[in-house]
Symmetry: C2
Subunit: 254 residues, 2 copies
DNA sequence: CGGTTACTTGATCGAGCTCAATTAGTGTGG
DNA sequence: CCACACTAATTGAGCTCGATCAAGTAACCG
């Protein structure tokens, strides 16, 4: 804010949750000043990782969860057979590593898509703060719940949606998340490759490429390398779910 | 069933976690006697639901999570467009409804696959117990973590696996879960329809049927209506992941 | 620049879906 | 106890969406 605070940039690494612009999206949301102070004590340290670096690998022992501060991070699973599945893209304010609590080791890996910084919340401090700050426990439940709901929506996407619906859903979701962060929801850079997108959406890279070409032809968006501009947001939304089903199809109901 | 046991059935509803045979698989796991007593107070009541009944519907307001005591329950999501995605099958000792904490409404629906009973843990009591019994908080984190990991494995299944691999994975997982509950892992009844299985695995009913026929032909198992007998467990396991990939394919790595 | 990687575009193929017909359970009521 | 309706499951035939294979182009980077 003030010009003179420039000198304090080194301190920026030590920025507290009080001053963090992400506070409203992040763990502190809904906490009072005293509670945020407690939370601040629990944050072990801020770490920076570069494009392609692992934050943690599948199977790593640990007890920490992380919150993205800047940049973006993908999480993925790999099978013995060599193929991998991207399970999430994480933007500033989003939490990752929740899979560590089962037996104190990560069941997924996390790689930075670009230079990124994260706040680390160690398991020990995490348990402490859940005990001492009830609001924090509630907040944590909310985040975990959201994560599960999101994963379920991804199951629906992979289980039922067409290629077109998948990409449209992905772009729409990304757009909304960026907008919440004060960025443009209509013009943004993709931090992940076509490869990663395809992997995440259960599609081949070629399919992603062709879909982008088609969306462009139809005037839905323009895309140049990784820069996407949504031209027709309503059109994009209308592609998210299939319309043609007259009566319920592939029903889960009895 | 028997006329004489009717008298005791009423008591069955009031069984405590102390006496429950599921304790080792369920929430009380790792808790001491005093802590289990606290947990017992938090369990609001036991409920019985019949085949096809909803435990809760998508969008229902609430704050409770449930643990299956007997029977089995499926959870599912539905889109506006009318199609649905089964996101889980829940066996005794397994928790469901964790998606309720985000904004105090269920983002999924839950339907009994057969006559089932559940223990309800209300949100209020749940928060209380997490505060007063730290071990319970740890336990909860573990369960949530496991849920997330499982969902991620399902993303991998839907995103990368072939139809054969999907069904094999499903049967193997079911077999293991039943075995943990003291039931046979080689001969068991499927409580869900082919429809539900197909929906869950992202496959058409016909594909499930054909796969069962093929597995039978290959001597992997026999299936008669919903009764499955695994004849060659090693053979089943070997079908879980693709072998042919020489070098990493569809990689998530950069 | 030359080499590497990311992306695009075209042509072909196949796993699994859809449609259709049949069979086998499962009640339900007379 | 059986006839009827209804749902669940199987089996066959053909088709389609998106994968795979192949080639070319464009950005990036030492």
């Amino acid at each position: 804010m003030t010009a003179s605070s420039e000198v304090l940039n080194i301190k920026a690494i030590k920025v507290s949750c009080h001053d963090c612009s992400l506070a409203e999206l992040c763990l502190p949301r809904g906490l009072n000043q005293a509670e945020i102070t407690e939370l601040d004590h629990a944050i072990q340290h801020r770490r920076t990782i570069h494009r392609g670096d692992h934050l943690y690998r599948m199977g790593d022992r640990g007890r920490s969860v992380f919150v993205v501060r800047t940049g973006s991070i993908k999480t993925y699973l790999s099978t013995g057979a060599g193929d991998e599945q991207v399970v999430g893209f994480h933007l500033p304010g989003e939490i990752l590593g929740l899979d560590v609590f089962d037996n104190e080791q990560y069941s997924s890996g996390a790689i930075a898509l670009e230079t990124s910084s994260v706040c680390e919340l160690s398991g020990h401090h995490f348990e402490e703060i859940c005990k001492t700050v009830p609001a924090m426990n509630t907040q944590m439940c909310r985040l975990v719940s959201r994560e599960i709901t999101h994963d379920h929506e991804m199951l629906l996407l992979l289980g039922k949606k067409t290629a077109e619906e998948r990409l449209a859903t992905f772009l729409q979701s990304l757009s909304e998340r960026l907008q919440k962060r004060g960025l443009s929801g209509t013009k943004f850079n993709l931090s992940m490759s076509r490869q990663d997108m395809g992997n995440y959406l259960g599609l081949a890279v070629e399919t992603i490429s062709r879909l982008f070409a088609r969306f462009q032809q139809e005037g839905i968006l323009t895309v140049e390398r990784r820069l996407v501009s949504i031209r027709n947001p309503a059109g994009l939304k209308s592609m998210i779910s299939s319309h043609q089903h007259g009566q319920p199809v592939r029903s889960a109901q009895k």
